[in-house]
Symmetry: D2
Subunit: 417 residues, 4 copies
């Protein structure tokens, strides 16, 4: 443990390229499934290291295998796709990309979830581990996953033969930057990230001229009743001691001003820590949507399509007990307890496919002055940009150092000689 700490504080790997690499990724974000250039940049960097690179797994997925003699095998995963959000950070390397969005409309594109940082950090850890092969033995797998935001990238890599194309790891690790004091590494055993699903719902109606509501069955009115009743499910049907989120991601109805449309489309996003709650909520959503259609006098049935499934991240207690002391040693007071978060991730699909235990952690990335002031003034909610906001931007220096070291520390907790 002390060896790891000493190594990470005194390593000789060159990390000077990280800033430019990060800013380049940040300025050129790519939407899920379209990460061609980003993958190219990663491959280019990996060429600097002594490793076997396997590109194009499940689309733009990449695995780099660092073999270093006998010993266990540890996999570390980073994701690298971006979001359909127009950046408003104002930094010189802010994204100005405009791309067709998931709905076909032009949209800004932005690394608003910090995946650029995850990738930069994992490449940094590669540099350290590649430089200091004397410090460890075994196999280190760096896995770069596309399409995390759509919840499809991990499964696509698995479906494309991941399990047969890389050595089976003994443990999988991963990390995410989130609001919090920059540089703090937050770990916990047990359920940390929620399970989630998205549901695409089509609400049938009958179209008519806007002046003739009596000839129409107005799907927008039905959709509005449903949007409202969804929160009635959360507030009335869930045990208040349980956790459940039902959010409307998109609502679309109509294409012109003077026609009552013939359908409306909702996309929901639902999160849980408990499968019983999940089943109850999904049954309630179906019941509410169908009954509201009935109430509007629609005979046609609404349709439901589930997608974007995210598995629960339920950290293994054994891995936590192995990694946490190393993080405590490396980060000191900045190694802290995590709290449960409401977001979801498809990270866990990978260890689940391999049938191995895992640990996922969070690294705070909010500028420390801002964070400390916000906490002191009880204004975290108001003042701290969170992931997916168009002003979200990790504090570069502290965060890149912490994520790079944490990745290397986690791997070394298993592979250190």
């Amino acid at each position: 443990m002390n060896d790891i700490t000493h190594l990470l504080n005194h390593h000789t790997a060159d990390l000077g390229w990280q800033r430019a690499f990060y800013e380049d990724l940040h300025e050129h974000p790519e939407l899920s499934g379209h990460e061609q250039e980003t993958a190219g940049r990663i491959l280019q960097k990996l060429a600097d290291f002594d490793c076997e690179v396997i590109p194009h797994i499940g689309g733009h997925g990449i695995v780099a295998v660092f073999r270093n003699g006998d010993g266990p095998c540890a996999l570390f995963r980073a994701d690298f796709d971006a979001l359909p959000i127009r950046e408003e950070t104002g930094v010189p390397f802010a994204s100005t990309q405009i791309r067709p969005g998931p709905d076909g409309n032009p949209t800004g594109v932005m690394h608003a979830c910090g995946h650029d940082m995850h990738t930069t950090a994992l490449l940094g850890a590669c540099a350290i581990l590649d430089t200091h092969r004397e410090a460890w033995s075994g196999t280190f797998i760096a896995l770069f996953q596309p399409a995390e935001e759509t919840g499809t990238g991990a499964n696509a890599m698995i479906a494309d033969g991941l399990l047969h194309r890389v050595p089976r790891p003994d443990v999988c690790l991963g990390q995410h930057v989130m609001p919090g004091r920059a540089g703090e590494v937050q770990t916990m055993p047990g359920a940390q990230f929620a399970a989630c699903d998205s549901i695409r719902i089509t609400i049938p109606g009958r179209s008519a001229h806007g002046s003739m509501p009596h000839n129409a069955i107005d799907p927008t009115f039905t959709a509005a009743m449903i949007v409202i009743r969804l929160q009635g499910i959360v507030g009335r049907e869930v045990n208040p001691n349980d956790f459940a989120v039902v959010s409307v991601g998109t609502l679309r109805a109509g294409s012109t001003n003077n026609i009552i449309p013939d359908s409306a489309a909702l996309v929901l996003n639902c999160r849980f820590y408990d499968v019983t709650v999940q089943r109850r909520i999904y049954a309630a959503i179906k019941r509410v949507v169908e009954a509201e259609c009935l109430a509007s006098g629609i005979e046609e049935l609404p349709t439901f399509e589930f997608f974007g499934h995210g598995e629960l991240i339920d950290n293994d207690t054994g891995v936590f007990r192995t990694v946490r002391p190393v993080l405590d040693s490396v980060f000191g007071a900045a190694s802290v307890d995590a709290t449960r978060t409401t977001v979801s991730e498809d990270f866990a699909n990978i260890p689940r496919a391999f049938g191995v235990p895992y640990l996922y952690w969070v690294v705070g990335c909010t500028p420390q002055g801002l964070w400390d002031r916000a906490v002191a003034e009880n204004r975290v909610k108001e003042d701290v940009p969170v992931n997916h906001m168009n002003t979200f931007l990790p504090e570069y220096g502290t965060t890149v150092e912490a994520t790079t070291k944490a990745a290397a520390a986690g791997v070394l907790a298993y592979l250190s000689r």
Copy 2:
């Protein structure tokens, strides 16, 4: 009167081209403001007649002036734009056009409002009047208007100098096909088509990840409350003896499944016969939208943009008394009383600009068997396609004859020798 009836029943004008012309228009519909090819077809047909043609008035607007000695001047108007609707009539000449819609998304395009029929009929009336110049004297103006669906075409022609480029008419006439027994010509004095406005409303919110509703101010929820409360205005704030329609044309919120968006956009369509009611409703809409934003805790103000204004069509009693007996004579039992309709039109802007009286009428276009059965079984609402539905299609034969004759009859009611 008897002369007019005799003429219209025994005219020698060639109308054999009408069917192909109509089906050509129907198969190649163009959205409001983009009617270039349609205008080309009209101009080509007008070249067959002895008239002065003035193209490109207010975009694709066209006026044909038929001079025939001394006498009064009568203007007849037809419109020729189509709608962003994907046709489902199944006829061989159905439209398969796909174009960028008003919202930038690709959309089907369809003559779902019968403007192709209006134009074919007015050109037919031109043929009759051009052929039988012995039967009338004075000036006949055939006005072909674009962009009726957006409520902008009439005003664009006026703004482009219509009043100075054509003789001042003594009367303006127009017609619209609508559900009803095919061939029935429906006239009435007084308020017949409603006044209307469209209102684009932006509802501010605060974006956050879908799993963190407490960090967001959900504009979709606010929009849903507004959609519901709008009908509360209609049902609670309007004198039940008054007429008011508030329809939601479009509702847009969000661009991806797992982000609570930062705004939602509503487009309303409102109709009235009375300006006091109109003012009261607009004040109520503003009040409701602002208060629902307040209720959601939004500090930013919603925005309101009015467009697509349609004037009341309030038929002149004198013109009615002049034209109706002619229609009675020509159409017999198929000349019937109209009932007030809820739709709107920008036709009246033209006579209003000239300061002259007008009459606008409706011609039934539902296949007679279907109509009679639907009436007998009290299933008009269920069985009869109405304007702006993707299955709306006038019965060609009866309707084209009735609209052609009615247009000629109306003009001859003023110009007949």
Copy 3:
């Protein structure tokens, strides 16, 4: 006609008792079905006249038959029950009564609908007709009806043998004071007062402690969704050219703060001029209520109970043509055209039971200065108290004279020698 006008302007009947009688009624209002003392006061007054009095018809109903030789028979009806409203007029003779209301709770009682004026006026007409028997021949029936507010009094009198206990009239007449310039008599042929029904709806739920919503099915939430959707029916399912009102009269849910109740109760009040609209609305109400219960996950069915049916008042054109010239002669410029009103009445049940034509009219009762100013400033809605408001009070002098004379004039239009 001139004779009638002369008589009404120079009659010698003593009407000096009217003010005290009116104020006595006003100060001692009685709820529908409990009009014992009011009936006593009417009987006492009728004892002054030469007529046959038949009390206790259908509860507290009274008929006075004035026979005066051969000739036609005219019936005039006045109602005399009051409302569960706490009076706030501030007049010295304001009601201070507190009684158990329809729901068992104590309530103020008030003549907030002017029935005290109707009764005072009809008794005044009795006095004039009784005094001036030389001016008419035939039979005059003065009918005093209880329980109009509950829509049950007319039917109760009919069920109790009214048709067999009084001569069959040739015509039935009645009147109502309403907002309008005091003294103006407003008549019209055709549909004037709406048909109505009340509907008592019980919404089932499942009770639980207030802290355990997940163990309950909250009927108050279901009721709220229904209340909102009812206006969706009005705004979306009724042809905007038709007339329909759906109001919630009462909503009751729960009996204590910390228990989610096991049911909620709604009472609706619905009005129409057209039976097709009525049927459509009732089907929609049933559909909406049942579907909202389904949406809440309730398996038990809601219940519906119709009551308080009010028939359309559809004035006979023949009676209008007979009575209106007399009113024009008597009232001059104060005999005006009525406009359709949204309220309902059970008056028409009486002529319908007899199978005879009828005319019902309205007399303005708003102090003239207040009315004229409100009209001038377009503040009628804000400034003029309407029936059923706790500040509603007819201007005594002008109104009592107009209603007394109008009643006598209507009867004399048929019975005048």
Copy 4:
């Protein structure tokens, strides 16, 4: 500990009176603040014991002080009021009482929360402790509290001098029967029962006849929008990891079918474990109610009145550590861990007033067969009656024995020699 267990298993106290006493209480329930006869029955029973009885503290509150030499002082509290619920248990001793409820309306009255059991058990513990004075020394205070359901009884006793009229205890104890396997004693340290408040809200409107919605401002519609938006607060404004309940206890609007009322009244019941959440929710409720009034066009302000405050029950870890081993010894496998519950209690006001630590626990009271079957079939929610349901009834034998022994055991954990 073994001594206590031995004593409770072999005590010689006569408890044969408990069943008749319990059934008598159950058959004659009294509403909060009206517990005169119940207090009389308790006083009569206390007369059997060697203790100082202080009646009439804060209304019908009673304290019995059992002095037994030197030593610590332990207070045990039981409550004894009932609820405005019509009993449907069908047992021979079911309540048939009808009383004026909190709203003035007649209501059934029922021990639907098990307070009759609490009181019977505490009196049983008094019998055991009074009979076996050899087993303990110190002071035992049995406190019988009225008006728990209204959240006012504990404070009323404190306000009436409780602190100066009884010795200061070293610890306070209490218990509640709830759904769960009959006889299981459920204990936990920390926050166990939620903090709560009730809020009475008056929503202003403007009254008009039911047929004239345009002259009214309909408070029932406003109330419905508020009821729905309250769940929007829970579902959208609370961190999903936090706990918050907002339930509508009562909603009242209108007094008759055909009048739109001039106000509506809501009573809410809100629960929290965290004061920050509480503050946020109360601010949101105020914001929503005021904005919905604005949206309806009401100028008058709604009013808010807080009542029925319940403090958090936050069990002291030290007391838990003292009492739990005794319960484990006495109850064996039936001494289990409690889970946090959503209900509230005013018990904690008493130890808080004295400034002493406390433990409150729950005793399961569902018949064991029913409970085991419901758990096995995952039908606890559907099949097990909960407190405040009209079918809630503890299984007598197992429950009375467990609650009696648990009360004595808790006291003896402090006073046992």
